[in-house]
Symmetry: C2
Subunit: 189 residues, 2 copies
């Protein structure tokens, strides 16, 4: 998606060969106009999939998923990393390792909000090692529902996330795919 | 707002006299159609305020703020509770006590994303004791910017949040205001 690639080139910051900071428009300050264009593109890519629900993960996925959900006219469910005392006790759970936070955490989704008839689109901001998507996929499988695919804003193709996720039979569409990052520059695939 | 009140009566669950669970449509599963109506109502309530930015707090505020932002055509910034290693080091910070999680946490906003020209609308899902709004207000003040008001989905008027927040000179508009909860029932103001 040209618009997102151009925005990454304009406002993204590369640190080393692994880290791309996009907090000015994607995951701290949020450019909602851009998210609308991204939502339309997800709809175009998954037009034929008859999606009933979008599943994402707190916190960065929520805004992208919510804006996109308008084009599918379906509810969003977000997996919780940090559940309060009010959270249901009857949840689907999966363990996810976060490389940016260097910690393992448990994601939880109440059993009430995914049922076996659901056709679920997973949405997230980044695909790198794929751990978040695999965790979400595990939750959907526990519910007996179907993952229709994964819509990703930015894929780091130099990490093994896509391979891991495709092994599970998940169709992945990324709006911007980064082949490599070097000396402060981003190279798209 | 009639639509939200009706939804609370239909799908909310009252626990004791203090806790209202609305995770089927507001803060775990998200009814994006409802959020659109809420966004339009926030725009109507703050139509004359010339807002330049919406500030919210992860995670439950993000979707409501993002959908509402479409009607104001402004970016959203969300304060982070759980900052990764990629987070800027140069942040505005405030301490917030969470009663539902019974813990104090630090919220952070990068100094890049609020500047002194900003007219900021605060948005959150609940107003109860007001601690989250006061934390967000502190961050906006640190930036030298102006808080135009606070848009809240559900206010628990039997707690002291509004009083505390109004002491700081903040105009509060809530879409549903709960006077009391008793024997599983919600009574609106």
């Amino acid at each position: 998606m040209k618009l997102l690639e151009e925005r990454i080139l304009k406002d993204g910051t590369v640190i080393g060969t692994e880290i791309l900071k996009v907090d000015s428009f994607l995951n701290h300050q949020l450019d909602i106009r851009l998210f609308n264009e991204m939502g339309k593109e997800f709809k175009r890519l998954f037009a034929d999939a008859d999606i009933t629900k979008i599943l994402t993960i707190e916190a960065s996925g929520i805004a992208i998923a919510s804006i996109a959900a308008q084009y599918f006219d379906v509810p969003v469910v977000f997996a919780k990393k940090y559940s309060g005392t009010n959270m249901d006790k009857d949840n689907y759970e999966a363990d996810v390792f976060s490389f940016t936070k260097n910690t393992m955490y448990k994601i939880k989704v109440s059993k009430k909000y995914i049922n076996k008839e659901d056709k679920v689109l997973l949405i997230d901001d980044f695909l790198a090692n794929g751990r978040a998507l695999l965790g979400l996929n595990s939750i959907v499988k526990q519910a007996g529902a179907k993952v229709v695919g994964a819509g990703i804003a930015i894929e780091k193709a130099f990490q093994n996330g896509r391979t891991e996720v495709e092994k599970e039979g998940i169709l992945v569409h990324s709006l911007a795919t980064i082949a490599k990052m070097e000396e402060g520059k981003v190279y798209f695939k």
